[in-house]
């Protein structure tokens, strides 16, 4: 772990987001307060927390889709707006948002068109990514002809086509059923393994967060802040069997307790989480 130079891809410092009060007597909403987070290259970070904890807001701030009220966000050493203009981001939302009037291949080529890539190169690159997500046979189909899981795969291919520095995913598998979701998790890990992209992943599912990530950031609500950061010390290559190992269940428990921790009114910091992890391992 110490040999590889770990470049910091995302540097979040002191970020807060306050939504102004609207209407009579309403107070401003502190969606995020005092967020500090560093993400190294090649990491898979999950953001998990109850509704209203600001995880999606944080993702959007990192992606420069909304500005923080205070604090800084640096992506690849640049401020977030500059990173967006340089097209360093790939985004995947809960809905695939594929354009009906384009084939699957046309959808994957869209960022390349925006970027001004030449036609032949576009086709080549799109084919490359469709092969990566195993949708090559459906390149000329239209989105509605694909199942939900396949549409999300196409959306992931599109997000990766510009070789972004960071992949931002906002509950991409939330609309899928559990079995498809688990399958998609495996596919995502395979893709991640091949592309070595840095990933910031928002989810509601503890199982998913633990299965996919190298680190899980547990957030609490009102105001939104980081409650705990859990290092997931599972092998880098994960399989279906991983879900049945003791270590996996252990980390799921750690994350669950970290989530529960702030429900009782406590404010567990990262030290508590690490302590829980240590106790678990020895027990």
């Amino acid at each position: 772990m110490g040999d590889v130079a770990t470049r910091t891809v995302v540097e979040i410092q002191g970020v807060s987001k306050i939504f102004a009060a609207s209407g009579q007597g309403a107070r401003p909403v502190e969606a995020l307060v005092g967020i500090d987070l560093s993400v190294a290259a090649g990491e898979f970070i999950s953001l998990i927390g109850p509704s209203g904890c600001g995880k999606s807001t944080l993702l959007r701030i990192v992606g420069d889709l909304t500005a923080p009220t205070s604090g800084t966000v640096k992506v690849n050493g640049k401020p977030a707006p500059q990173a967006r203009r340089d097209r360093d981001y790939g985004m995947v939302f809960q809905a695939p948002i594929l354009f009906d009037w384009r084939s699957v291949q046309g959808n994957v080529e869209l960022p390349l068109e925006i970027n001004g890539t030449a036609k032949a190169e576009r086709a080549r690159r799109a084919a490359e990514l469709l092969a990566l997500v195993e949708l090559s046979d459906f390149a000329h189909h239209y989105p509605w002809q694909l199942s939900g899981g396949m549409q999300q795969r196409a959306a992931i291919a599109r997000a990766l086509v510009l070789d972004p520095a960071i992949l931002l995913m906002d509950e991409p598998f939330g609309a899928l059923d559990e079995m498809t979701r688990e399958r998609m998790n495996m596919e995502l890990l395979k893709i991640w393994d091949r592309t070595q992209t840095t990933v910031l992943f928002v989810t509601h599912s503890i199982a998913e967060a633990v299965f996919l990530s190298t680190r899980v950031v547990v957030m609490s609500a009102r105001p939104g802040r980081i409650a705990a950061v859990v290092d997931i010390d599972l092998p880098r290559v994960r399989t279906v069997e991983t879900r049945e190992t003791e270590a996996y269940f252990h980390f799921v428990t750690v994350v669950r307790e970290a989530l529960r921790g702030d429900e009782g009114g406590q404010q567990p910091g990262s030290t508590d989480a690490r302590r829980v992890a240590a106790e678990g391992l020895s027990g």
Partner: protein, 305 residues
């Protein structure tokens, strides 16, 4: 994301939202009037006004250019048209009174037709929704008939039916019937299918399902249909009166205005303004009723694909 944003309070934005279309409409109208006079100032005939609207302001202005369409006959000054409303004829009746009388006559026929057409349209839609075979036969015909210039038939119907107010009402009925039927067909099917299953599980009768589920769900769509049908009924009424010998409606006023245009251009304009007010008026009326009845519902797009 939505959970992070505080929900806006409804009371504050509501008035501003409702005022915006009205303000928008009025501002465009004002701009139109200003452009009108500006065109006349640039290329119309000489402005010679002793006292503008009685204010004592005198204007004497010779425009630099001469546009053929901006003469005082082709494009009368806006205040001339406005004043025309107050001009009294031989019997002491002002133009405004005459036009309002004519408009009310036309409106009455249009309203009768609209009511009949709406009831018929809704009734037919209810029937079609319950009898699938009829629906498969009739709906394509109804859709195809939208391509027929029905208004063009209006005069025939009026003449054929001995040319009085009844014929005009029939025309208005016909013009209302089609949009309302199509809208009702969409609306009667717009309920949540799970709600239907729920009612079936209570062994609800067809009538109960109709009353408690289909009809309430269809209201937004019905009003979309009414928005189209109401002005159409008015237009149909006017056009239906055209070649007939009916004396009491707006069409006769328009024809009179046409005949005496060189003598009194403003009168035709006044008649047209009254027709426009009538058309917009019924539309606004429908929108008003709709926003009161549907005050708790989401809006349905009027002209969606």
């Amino acid at each position: 994301m939505a959970a992070d944003i505080a929900a806006p309070r409804p009371s504050d934005g509501a008035w501003r939202r409702r005022l915006r279309p009205i303000v928008g409409f009025l501002s465009v109208l004002v701009i139109l009037l200003i452009t009108w006079e500006a065109v006349k100032a640039i290329g119309g005939e000489r402005w010679q006004v002793d006292s503008l609207l009685g204010t004592g302001i005198a204007i004497d202005w010779q425009p630099p250019f001469q546009f053929a369409f901006a003469t005082d006959v082709k494009l009368p000054h806006t205040w001339v048209i406005a004043l025309e409303f107050g001009a009294a004829d031989a019997n002491g009746m002002t133009t405004l009174q005459r036009l309002i009388g004519a408009a009310l006559f036309t409106l009455r026929n249009a309203a009768i037709g609209f009511t009949l057409g709406s009831l018929l349209g809704l009734g037919l839609a209810i029937l079609l929704v319950h009898v699938r075979l009829l629906e498969r036969s009739l709906v394509p015909i109804i859709v195809a008939s939208q391509t027929i210039p029905i208004i063009a038939i209006a005069p025939l119907i009026v003449i054929g039916l001995k040319a009085d107010w009844f014929g005009v009402a029939i025309v208005a009925t016909y013009l209302t019937f089609f949009p309302v039927t199509i809208a009702a067909l969409r609306g009667l099917r717009a309920y949540d299918p799970r709600a239907l299953e729920l009612m079936r599980s209570y062994a609800a009768s067809r009538g109960a399902i109709l009353r408690k589920l289909r009809l309430p769900a269809s209201r937004p769509y019905l009003f979309t249909g009414f928005r189209i049908a109401a002005p159409a009924a008015v237009v149909g009424a006017i056009v239906g009166e055209l070649p007939s010998l009916i004396q009491d409606g707006l069409a006769r006023q328009i024809i009179t205005g046409m005949q005496y245009y060189s003598l009194n251009a403003a009168f035709l304009w006044a008649a047209i303004v009254m027709s426009a007010v009538l058309g917009i008026g019924v539309y606004v009326l429908v929108v008003g009723v709709e926003s009161w009845i549907l005050r708790h519902e989401r809006r349905v797009d009027a002209m969606g694909a």
